[in-house]
């Protein structure tokens, strides 16, 4: 069966960042250590979005509760967890109330394969909003090979006409533009301490 594209957290975050407002995503979470993965994902979003990222647990929430929580601070990005055990009726109710979840801040459904199945089977209105933005959470730069890292650094240097040293100097002088690529650049250089 065709699978969804795997993206590391930083790429999902970059996608969110460039979209601006009203972004809906589904992230297919890893089966192992989902709590750690969620924390890392939230950290990554915080870096790229430079704005609060809330986690809302829907495990025992009613649809009305969820609407209320999503409408509170609607500019914040929200990661919605705890939907994996939802049955058909719950998904259908959420689907009917899709417009009550509309907000300026990003909305990310953090789901297991069963959760994605539930959404795709029982929530066609939500799926229509999500479109093809369903990504499997892939490995991050920690497992990027040295060759891949070098190629990415070269691409950044060529694109921005800057050297690695210049980027570090600009970060130290706090003159680095707030572009997400520069965050990535510093992380690839092992200088996340300058962020």
């Amino acid at each position: 069966m065709p699978e969804f594209i795997a993206r590391p957290a930083y790429q999902i975050a970059r996608g969110l960042e460039v979209r601006g407002t009203d972004a809906w995503f589904v992230v297919l979470r890893p089966a192992e250590n989902p709590e750690v993965a969620l924390q890392d994902f939230q950290d990554e979003l915080l870096v790229y979005l430079n704005a609060p990222v809330r986690i809302i647990d829907a495990t025992s929430a009613s649809v009305a509760d969820l609407r209320q929580q999503l409408r509170t601070r609607p500019d914040n990005a929200v990661v919605l967890v705890g939907l994996d055990g939802w049955n058909q009726d719950s998904w259908t109710s959420l689907d009917i109330n899709r417009d009550g979840m509309v907000r300026a801040g990003a909305l990310i459904f953090w789901l297991s394969p069963a959760g994605v199945l539930g959404l795709c089977q029982y929530a066609p209105n939500i799926r229509s909003f999500v479109g093809g933005s369903i990504f499997e959470l892939g490995p991050d730069e920690g497992v990027m090979s040295e060759g891949e890292r070098q190629r990415r650094l070269e691409a950044l240097a060529e694109h921005y006409q800057l050297s690695n040293e210049q980027v570090i100097q600009m970060a130290q002088a706090e003159t680095l533009p707030p572009e997400p690529e520069f965050v990535e650049w510093l992380v690839l250089l092992g200088r996340g301490d300058l962020l």
Binding site: A64, R67, I96, G100, P124, N125, G131, G132, S133, E181
Partner: protein, 417 residues
């Protein structure tokens, strides 16, 4: 302190800003009202449909029209355009209400449409015709507004009221009820509707005294994709609105057009169908115009644009989604422009989302449709495929598998639940 180099020049900001501007224009989840306000919408995409809807509502007070279409077909946009047109007419007050954004309809919440209508009407009365607020207004209109708020949000019951209500309920239970031989074709409105009908009538009358006719535009009812839920929610409320001679435009699910839905559609003065647009290569003029209106030419070549149009199947939201996702692919991969492989990945993702959740029976039904072209909507599986957009309708007799999904089901390895 090391000398800091000058900040990077044009290319940095230009690329990001270029992509951000593109993504903003191709945002399928941005409020439709914003898209219209930003000039991103082609107002005459569906042969003046919005004007046709609006004109009838304006000329025929009390008329009730449905706008029917699949998910993502652009119903909200057409209703907003109708609102815009009506707003320009003298003495017509259009009230646009996205009902599912205001209340939870999943529990078959009858009376919710009337409550929302009354609240909007009251706000508009004090916002446009009268300066004071309903809370302070001792007139009949002020009293009507308070009764509508009580109907909508409830109120504290006094001890005497509680005793009287309980006595009434106990009496009703003791008496029982023997049904007559003839069932009325239209059941009488329940007591709760009588409670709200009077203050609503008062408010509508107040507008008429100022020579204003009210048209209510109800969006969001199409989320009730199963017919029984849709009809249970709308029937009593729309009947009350008809008695008030308030024109209604409402979104409805596509299942209204077929099989048992036809008996529901007969209750309306007119049912407008928003079909999927032509997406075939060389004929997708409207879809290409949508891309152009949103500034797609900045980032998309003709080949990429044509591929997006074809894969959308003529579903407007899917068109915008694939264009947006292809832009995101290009941005994340470091390209300055959207390439055909970016479009391909975006289409593959959309198709995979449509594929997920399909069982072997559903996949077989899709393969049959693709092979024979025939599609029996008496089958519950087929109806579900239609309302969930795996199958698209181009006319009452022309159904096709969504083109983003089709290549995935024709691969043998895809035929697994």
């Amino acid at each position: 302190m090391p000398e800091s180099p000058a900040p990077p020049k044009q290319p940095v900001a230009t690329r990001r800003e270029k992509f951000r501007a593109y993504m903003k224009n191709f945002n399928p989840t941005a409020p439709a009202r914003d898209a219209i306000g930003s000039g991103l919408v082609l107002e005459d995409l569906h042969n003046s449909l919005s004007r046709s809807l609006a004109a009838r509502a304006d000329l025929e007070p009390g008329s009730q029209q449905l706008l029917v279409g699949g998910i993502g077909s652009g119903k909200t946009t057409e209703l907003l355009l109708a609102e815009k047109w009506l707003g320009k007419q003298a003495s017509t007050l259009p009230l646009f209400i996205d009902i599912t954004a205001e209340t939870d309809l999943s529990g078959l919440n009858t009376g919710a449409l009337l409550a929302a209508f009354g609240l909007h009407l009251g706000r508009r009365f004090y916002g446009t015709l009268e300066a004071e607020s309903s809370a302070e207004d001792p007139s009949e209109v002020g009293n009507a507004c308070r009764r509508i708020k009580e109907f909508a949000f409830g109120r504290a019951e006094s001890a005497v009221e509680k005793v009287l209500r309980e006595a009434r309920e106990a009496s009703a239970q003791l008496k029982g009820y023997v049904p007559g031989r003839l069932r009325p074709p239209i059941p009488a409105l329940q007591r709760q509707f009588q409670d709200i009908a009077e203050p609503l009538g008062m408010l509508v009358g107040a507008f008429r005294e100022y020579s204003w006719e009210v048209v209510v535009i109800l969006d969001g009812l199409d989320r009730l994709i199963t017919l029984d839920k849709f009809w249970a929610v709308v029937e009593p409320d729309l009947r009350a609105l008809r008695e008030l001679r308030v024109s209604v435009l409402a979104a409805a699910p596509i299942s209204i057009l077929y099989e048992s839905g036809k008996s529901i559609s007969e209750h309306f003065d007119r049912v407008h169908h928003l079909a999927a647009l032509t997406a075939e290569p060389g004929k997708a003029r409207e879809l290409k115009a949508v891309l152009a209106q949103r500034g797609g030419a900045e980032m998309l070549g003709p080949l990429e644009a044509a591929r997006i149009c074809m894969a959308s199947g003529g579903v407007l939201r899917d068109l915008v989604t694939v264009a947006r996702d292809a832009g995101e692919e290009a941005y994340v991969s470091g390209s300055d422009r959207i390439r055909i492989q970016d479009v391909g990945r975006a289409i593959q993702q959309l198709g995979t989302a449509y594929l997920r959740g399909l069982g072997p029976g559903q996949v077989q039904a899709l393969l049959n449709l693709n092979k024979t072209g025939s599609f029996d909507l008496g089958s519950p599986i087929n109806m579900e495929l239609l309302v969930t957009r795996r199958v698209l309708e181009y006319s009452p007799t022309d159904f096709r598998v969504h083109p983003a999904l089709l290549p995935l089901i024709t691969k043998p390895e895809a035929r697994i639940a």
